[in-house]
């Protein structure tokens, strides 16, 4: 039997007031496939099934999960099931009144995104005047004694503000800061030249994070991961395919990662039709790249014996850069396609964004 999952990422809705140019949601979110969102009862049933399967951590995300009118009921359902719930929000709708109701219902943790520590820059990147609301939301979260995480997706146009971001995190009384270097799937592919950082930017940012950790200590946990495009060896994407985590799209399709819908030919079972346990253990999408039997060369005879360490890296990235989802992640220096990763660092930079919308944009 496969290992038990510990994390469920519940994408409650792909609707969002923000238009971030690196949004990891699928580029066809406005299409027919995602029109019918799961109902309250569906989600609550799924939360209980997830707990029985082993899940302990629940991420309520989107899009913007605060757009769900039944969020309080969903948080209560999560608590009843015995899950630890995190709300992953842009913060613009996290008013004191709604935050209080979520707290009473049993929501455990609030994570608020910030696009830049500079108000104008934040609003430009988000494509929405949102900075002041985000700060207000963070203060409300602290006032109500929620543990607070700030997250910021990093790229060429905000990496140089890392010191300001660290200072803001401390000012807001956040417990965690998630610094997520942009990953190139979803809308980020269309914006790669506007987002790809330089090696020097990353080096400076990493040094700033290191200094902050030494100065502040365990009071604030800072997550920092070097982006794939500057790595020589792949990361264990999602902790390994179908190994620790699962993602449920707003329409009920269950996926091994947020970008798995980009892989043509994978069949995603839906929680409307199947119990979660069967989907995890036996459905096509989860079985396809689980473990190591599916691997091709050079993974199959990995000279570093890393098959059980990185699980071949990211399937979606392999597909995008090589045309084959079962290929070795080209981030790996042993991949015959590693030159494509190296070339991508050299893109001529631009400041122009293609913003995320519910309509498929030109060039996406």
């Amino acid at each position: 039997m496969p290992s038990r999952p510990s994390t469920l990422i519940a994408e409650l809705s792909y609707q969002c007031p923000l238009h971030c140019p690196y949004c990891s949601n699928p580029v066809d979110i406005g299409g027919e496939r995602y029109r019918r969102e799961l109902g309250t009862d569906d989600w609550v049933r799924v939360f209980a099934q997830a707990r029985r399967l082993g899940v302990l951590q629940l991420a309520l995300t989107g899009g913007e999960p605060m757009l769900r009118g039944d969020l309080v009921e969903l948080c209560a359902g999560a608590r009843d099931a015995g899950l630890y719930s995190s709300l992953i929000t842009a913060g613009t709708l996290f008013t004191r009144e709604r935050a209080r109701a979520l707290k009473s219902a049993g929501l455990d943790h609030v994570q608020i995104s910030i696009q830049s520590p500079d108000p104008e820059d934040n609003d430009r990147i988000a494509g929405n005047r949102s900075f002041a609301k985000k700060i207000a939301a963070a203060l409300v979260a602290r006032e109500l004694d929620f543990p607070l995480t700030i997250n910021c997706v990093l790229h060429r146009q905000n990496l140089d503000r890392i010191e300001e971001l660290l200072a803001l995190t401390l000012d807001l009384g956040a417990q965690r800061l998630e610094l997520a270097n942009t990953q190139y799937y979803g809308w980020a592919v269309a914006n790669q030249a506007a987002l790809m950082p330089s090696w020097e930017q990353l080096q400076r940012a990493e040094a700033a994070v290191q200094r902050f950790r030494e100065r502040v200590g365990p009071k604030v946990t800072v997550l920092w991961v070097l982006p794939d495009f500057y790595e020589q060896l792949p990361k264990p994407c999602m902790g390994g395919w179908g190994r620790t985590a699962m993602v449920i799209a707003p329409n009920g399709e269950v996926m091994p990662c947020q970008a798995a819908s980009t892989i043509d030919g994978l069949a995603f079972a839906n929680v409307r039709n199947h119990p979660l346990e069967w989907i995890w253990n036996e459905s096509d999408a989860f079985v396809r790249f689980r473990g190591t039997d599916w691997m091709q060369e050079p993974c199959r005879s990995c000279p570093l014996g890393r098959q059980e360490e990185d699980f071949g890296g990211c399937r979606c990235q392999a597909l995008r850069l090589t045309g084959d989802a079962a290929a070795t992640d080209p981030v790996c220096r042993f991949s015959p396609h590693h030159d494509r990763v190296v070339q991508a660092r050299e893109l001529a930079p631009t400041d122009e964004f293609v913003y995320r919308t519910m309509k498929r944009a030109a060039g996406v």
């Binding site: 038990r4 082993g54 455990d108």
Partner: protein, 87 residues
């Protein structure tokens, strides 16, 4: 005098699927052995380290656990799971 408490938002829970005690924290799960559970249950921000050791000493027929308790709590604080506010 220090009165340790779990970090904001941390929750002790018994995972009946895996039959083990866990500390749930924002986006993390920490597996706990039985000693750690007993100590962390007493880290309520009201009891001092000596109070906690005293409760456990009474529970275990007078065994002196003060050093063990201090070590465990300090290790948990280093990992960002417990806050030790000086009073």
């Amino acid at each position: 005098m220090t009165r340790p408490r779990l970090i904001t938002g941390a929750r002790l829970q018994y995972d009946d699927v895996r039959s083990e005690h866990v500390l749930l924290i924002p986006e993390g799960v920490v597996k706990l052995n039985s000693t750690a559970v007993e100590v962390l249950e007493l880290c309520d921000g009201a009891r001092s380290l000596d109070d906690i050791a005293g409760v456990l000493r009474a529970r275990y027929q007078g065994a002196d656990v003060r050093d063990d308790v201090r070590e465990l709590v300090e290790a948990m604080a280093q990992r960002g799971l417990v806050v030790i506010d000086a009073i």
